[in-house]
């Protein structure tokens, strides 16, 4: 089997070490083709078809396989993801290069490879006796790899020819030199553009071609200074002349940005087009500091509006910038200019096409939804279709002589303003993986119909005789927890929390597990759920449905009547839930004294104990925080929201919550005991005192003192604040307090000192998540750890790999945050939909007083918005801001935090991408500023004004589609397949 042995040497940075590794070459690697009769056959690895199933190409007459060069994968991954391209050979050299260059593309490529329908075969050329080549003296690694790719192509052609197969293997490369050399060696080679253009029905693919070489635009004046070469950058950073950091564009102004340097608190300010020098948000760049006399400061917020209305006219904006520069001479910050890009962080962006009046033009400007991203120039022949849609675009390059970066069209999401489209946009913008579960993932699911077998029962405790029930919000399909409580002979109570045993179905290392780890959490939008697990698990096999036998992981305590834990036991078990109730139903059962069956009794006991537990917890210093949460009543037909209301809480909510907290804490203690280095925990860092400043000031203005030295004192002072005339005062204070907090995060216990495990909000020294494995991956990890602790399951190497688990935690934290943002965005979207057709007056309270605005909270809708003051320069109504006690004064009206106001809410739809709610003051009445209370007439007027822009766009697009609608529609249809 083993043939030769070659030595590799490797040097690492700094010290030069010689590393010698063995490299075995083999003669038993299959070429992967069905047509091949020479390779030793192994059925599972034959991927490439022998028939002519590749797409017809006018350039290649015979049946062919494609062998793809690295640059194609890196640049054209969007096209490779299209189903038409199949029968592709990826050599290992290429795969490794891709992995080194871009982990994102690598992941996407792996996805394509793992789909058997696509027929992508990985050929391990580096270990094949005949295709392995050694680097020649003087040859660069790159050249060597190019040669290796050519050798592999040649080998394929010779190899398949031996059997008289007609199949040719074509090298697909955009590297001109590689192509030239290939042609010299008589290897068939073709460039991506030629190949795509030669395909039948290629129109929709052409748009997706990466515009790396966009010759036509490359003429004309140069807008930007040159970037330095990598070696210059390297030297500059080494000598300290240049600073390396992550560029963050300003949300308000695309001509400004900051450079965040690792380990340095103060960021460097960058302003102006040529100073930004083609840096895009998120890029790692090198910056040179400007001399001090050229320093400037961020311009004011006002620019935002002007920029929005007139983005294109850069000169004008520039002038405004200058104007603000002169006015703000006093507060100058460190300013620099970008001299080079170290690593691009380009991804795909979501947005719309800018309207263009020239018919038949293929070059268009794309406006991203995110304000931080510059406009992108793309080429498309489908303008008529795309101008009404939200689309996704990727950036390819940004030459010096192009004002905007060049990109290509990736795909269309759907019509602007359509709810599914907007949901899609939310998901994309928050980087939430939401595609359908792949077949590989689904194949690792248990086969239906599923029944409990004896094998499942082994090692489980049979708890089917217990009166177990679950309590959840209405409409909940993924029930992951159930409870029971019963009297013990010794007078104590036995309480059990039973959590769905997801790890029983989701074995480590399977495709299902990997997918779940990637998703990390279920995302809840107002009208849509993106599950972490496939439906079969999340709403059937793992969901603890009523009167169904389900596998669970139980945590069982013995408690005395004062809710002191006597002992704790964990076990895998099997249960049969007696009832799946909603919070309301459970509450009714508890309150109804006539009901006396065991289930109700156990509910009452649970409720009784939970109150004790809660009291203990609060006495300990746990915080009760509030955030405005709202619920939409959605029309079941159109899925448009009809009514908005704030969420209500009942006693049973807190009952379930208490026991879940208790279970989480018990489990956390246990897994840390067993795995002091590897336990997955959750901590909530104590916020620095400075964070509380707004809270302290706001309370002080109302005559209360806040003690923020510890969580306990804060909780106590929050409890004391009540105002007779303002029933919402306490809630608003709590909302403010919540804003001061830090984010809770997952971490691996070995990475921190035990004193840092503390959970500030819950005031407990250790905490983890155990109770919702259906919707959180952290819980899955905890389940696995706990299962090993109690000997119910086997370990596997990755379980105890600190680094990998740390990476998983990072991912979970990131996904969790994004899921929260997405949920908020979804609420905002629905609020907008709700206000689309109406203008309403609502009672609200001032939450913050800002320099030029009031932050208003409308409790009825849990809605927060900004009421801008001093907006109109020509108006004679002026507000004076007092920074000392946070108040705004106009005439004899004073606005302070927590003051009640009445505002008029309407929706401004003038900007198609960013619809926003407009707040106008109604009460207290200030002449010249306030608006009259809403009535039907003013409503209609405002509506018309607002929708003018939208209508304009619609009309225009309608007109164009009328002209040549037929053709474009047809094209659109084909694209979908």
């Amino acid at each position: 089997m083993l043939t030769t042995k070659i030595f590799f040497r490797k040097t690492k940075g700094g010290n030069v070490f010689k590393t010698v590794r063995e490299h075995y070459l083999r003669n038993d690697i299959h070429c992967g083709s069905k047509a091949c009769k020479r390779c030793m056959c192994k059925t599972r690895n034959i991927i490439l078809d022998d028939e002519d199933s590749s797409v017809k190409s006018s350039k290649i007459t015979e049946p062919y396989y494609l062998l793809i060069d690295t640059n194609i994968i890196l640049d054209q991954i969007d096209i490779l993801e299209e189903d038409v391209i199949c029968n592709v050979i990826i050599v290992q050299t290429v795969l490794e290069e891709v992995k080194h260059r871009s982990s994102m593309v690598y992941k996407r490529l792996k996805n394509v490879i793992s789909n058997p329908q696509r027929k992508f075969y990985v050929f391990v050329n580096e270990h094949h006796k005949e295709t392995y080549i050694e680097r020649n003296p003087g040859e660069s690694t790159n050249d060597r790899n190019d040669r290796a790719i050519r050798v592999a192509t040649k080998w394929y052609n010779v190899h398949l020819d031996l059997d008289d197969n007609k199949i040719k293997t074509v090298l697909l490369t955009d590297d001109a030199r590689n192509k030239e050399l290939a042609e010299k060696e008589e290897i068939p080679a073709i460039s991506m553009e030629d190949y795509i253009l030669s395909l039948e029905n290629s129109a929709f693919l052409v748009d997706k071609l990466c515009k790396k070489s966009y010759s036509a635009v490359c003429e004309g004046p140069e807008f930007f200074p040159c970037h330095l070469t990598p070696s210059e950058l390297h030297n500059g950073i080494k000598t300290g002349k240049l600073v390396q950091g992550t560029f963050q564009a300003s949300r308000e102004n695309f001509l400004e940005g900051f450079l965040n340097v690792d380990g340095v608190e103060k960021s460097i300010f960058i302003q102006g087009r040529s100073n930004l020098n083609r840096a895009v948000d998120g890029d790692t760049v090198a910056v040179e500091l400007l001399p001090e006399d050229q320093w400037s400061s961020p311009s004011d917020i006002v620019l935002q509006d002007e920029e929005e209305t007139d983005v294109d006219n850069v000169l004008e904006v520039k002038k405004v910038v200058d104007k603000f520069d002169s006015s703000n001479k006093m507060q100058k910050t460190r300013t620099g200019k970008v001299v080079g890009i170290i690593r691009r962080n380009w991804r795909q962006y979501c947005g719309i096409l800018q309207l263009s009046n020239i018919e038949g033009n293929v070059r268009h400007i794309f406006v991203p939804a995110e304000r931080k991203i510059p406009k992108i120039r793309i080429e498309t022949r489908q303008y008529t279709v795309l101008c009404k849609q939200r689309i996704i675009v990727a950036i390819d390059s940004w030459p010096r002589n192009s004002r905007y970066p060049l990109g290509h069209f990736v795909r269309a999401l759907g019509e602007i303003g359509n709810k599914t489209t907007e949901n899609e946009v939310i998901l994309l913008e928050h980087d939430i993986p939401h595609s359908r579960f792949s077949d590989v993932v689904l194949s690792s699911l248990p086969k239906m119909p599923w029944n409990v077998t004896d094998a499942d029962l082994a090692g489980r405790e049979d708890l089917r005789h217990l009166h177990i029930c679950s309590v959840d919000p209405p409409g909940c399909t993924d029930i992951d927890d159930a409870l029971h409580c019963r009297d013990l002979p010794n007078g104590n109570l036995e309480i059990g929390v039973h959590i769905a045993d997801v790890t029983h179905f989701m074995r480590p290392g399977t495709a299902l597990d990997k997918e779940a780890a990637l998703r990390s959490t279920t995302v809840y939008l107002v009208d849509r759920r993106i599950h972490m697990l496939p439906d079969l698990l999340s709403s059937n096999l793992c969901s603890l449905l009523e009167k169904q036998e389900r596998l669970t992981f139980s945590c069982i305590w013995e408690m005395d009547k004062d809710a002191n834990i006597i002992n704790t036991k964990f076990c895998k078990s099997i249960i049969c839930s007696r009832a799946a109730m909603t919070y309301d139903e459970a509450q009714l059962k508890i309150d109804d004294a006539t009901q006396q069956d065991p289930l109700v009794k156990s509910l009452r006991n649970l409720n009784y104990l939970s109150k004790k537990l809660k009291k203990k917890r609060l006495d300990n210093g746990a915080l009760v925080l509030a955030s405005p949460e709202i619920r939409f009543q959605v029309d079941c037909e159109t899925h448009d929201p009809i009514e908005v209301e704030a969420k209500k809480l009942r006693e049973t909510n807190s009952m379930v919550e208490e026991f879940m907290l208790l279970a989480n804490i018990s489990v956390a203690k246990r897994i840390v005991e067993e795995f002091p280095e590897y336990a997955v925990l959750r901590r909530h860092p104590e916020p620095p005192v400075a964070n509380f400043e707004p809270l302290i000031k706001a309370a002080k203005n109302q005559g209360f003192t806040m003690n923020v030295n510890s969580g306990k004192e804060l909780a106590a002072s929050l409890d004391e604040c009540h105002k007779e005339n303002n029933p919402y005062f306490n809630i608003m204070l709590r909302i403010l307090a919540t804003r001061c907090m830090m984010q809770a995060v997952y971490f691996i216990s070995g990475m921190l000192q035990p004193s840092d495990y503390y959970h500030y909000g819950l005031a407990c020294p250790i905490y983890t998540h155990f109770t919702s494995p259906i919707r959180r991956y952290a819980d899955v990890m905890v389940h696995r750890l706990l299962a090993v602790c109690i000997g119910a399951d086997a370990t596997y190497p990755d379980l105890l790999d600190k680094k990998k688990n740390h990476a998983l935690c990072q991912n979970m934290n990131y996904r969790h945050r994004m899921a929260q943002y997405a949920a908020r965005a979804s609420v905002a979207l629905n609020t907008h939909l709700f206000f689309r057709e109406k203008i309403q007056d609502e009672e609200g309270y001032i939450l913050f007083v800002r320099k030029n605005a009031l932050q208003i909270l409308v409790l009825k809708y849990g809605l927060e918005g900004t009421l801008y003051l001093n907006k109109d320069k020509n108006s004679d109504v002026t507000f004076t801001y007092n920074g000392e006690n946070h108040s705004q004064t106009c005439g004899n009206t004073v606005f302070r935090t927590f003051d009640p106001v009445t505002v008029q809410i309407s929706l401004n739809r003038s900007n198609v991408q960013h619809e926003k709610l407009i707040f106008k003051l109604v009460k207290p009445f200030i002449p010249g500023f306030s608006v009259p209370a809403a009535n039907a007439e003013s409503c209609r007027m405002a509506m018309e004004e607002n929708t003018k822009e939208t209508a304009k766009r619609k009309m225009e697009t309608d007109k164009v589609t009328c002209n040549k609608g037929g053709g474009s529609k047809k094209r659109q249809k084909k694209r979908k397949h």
Partner: protein, 273 residues
């Protein structure tokens, strides 16, 4: 550094191009060292070990004085790693005396005591010196193999070959399984594979002559600090014994070849006299 993920990229091949159950190339030289009573040099891939055997001779030094057990011979093992032996390129500070080498010495002693007929050497001592010249994974196992060969070269009667082999549990379901009866784990790990998370089990076995039965486990040394669940142990054991069997036949072949090469002329000479 090549990561374990690479295996996915390579259609089930390990980072150096082997399949799960393949060993590295084993090269053996016996009698490389005239001064010693027996010596052997063994290469398992890039792991290179030199073993010398002195004795049996009169007990010397501290081991000699402590003659509590005079009915049996004493085995004295010393395991040392050359300062230049590490494959990561760093230099080791001391060749021996650290915890790792002491532990290795002790384990080696256990293995050797298990195969030598010590009862025929009362009041005598056998010294086994192991020098690891280059280390690229599985060095303990290679040194056991080398020591066995050196004992043979020294003409000390042994019961069976003591064969060392490592098995590493790499968590990878996609790893190609040639033989489904042997579940998972890769044999004869090199340095890169030993560094991956997962358990590396070093096993010394006395494999039987006939390749059908597999038994005779003696020494187990555990590598990486992870826990191994008992349920996985049996399958790993099956694999590693399969590997030991293979190594045994390679060594056996080498010994026979060496003996025919070396012995024939002298036998001929004796016969002539």
């Amino acid at each position: 550094m090549i990561e374990a993920e690479n295996i996915e990229d390579q259609n089930g091949l390990r980072p150096d191009g082997r399949r799960a159950l393949e060993l590295r190339q084993i090269r053996v030289k016996m009698g490389v060292f005239g001064q010693a009573d027996g010596s052997a040099y063994i290469e398992q891939g890039n792991t290179k070990i030199l073993v010398t055997v002195y004795g049996p001779h009169q007990p010397r030094g501290s081991t000699g004085r402590n003659t509590s057990n005079i009915s049996k011979g004493i085995v004295n093992c010393q395991y040392s790693m050359a300062v230049f032996s590490l494959s990561s390129g760093e230099r080791k500070r001391k060749p021996r005396g650290d915890r790792k080498s002491q532990e290795r010495s002790l384990q080696l002693k256990h293995a050797m005591e298990a195969i030598i007929h010590l009862e025929i050497y009362p009041r005598s001592q056998i010294d086994i010196y192991v020098e690891a010249l280059q280390v690229d994974g599985s060095e303990y196992c290679a040194s056991v193999n080398g020591a066995t060969l050196a004992l043979i070269d020294a003409g000390i009667p042994i019961k069976n070959y003591a064969i060392g082999c490592t098995v590493t549990l790499i968590n990878n379901p996609s790893l190609e399984d040639e033989d489904n009866t042997l579940e998972k784990g890769v044999l004869d790990a090199n340095y890169v594979e030993e560094c991956t998370p997962g358990v590396t089990l070093s096993v010394v076995a006395l494999p039987n002559n006939d390749s059908t039965s597999k038994d005779g486990l003696i020494v187990v040394a555990q590598g990486a600090g992870q826990r191994l669940h008992l349920s996985q142990f049996e399958s790993l054991k099956a694999r590693v014994l399969y590997g030991c069997q293979d190594i045994r036949s390679i060594l056996d072949h080498a010994v026979r070849e060496y003996l025919t090469e070396q012995s024939l002329p002298s036998l001929f000479h004796v016969a002539l006299n």
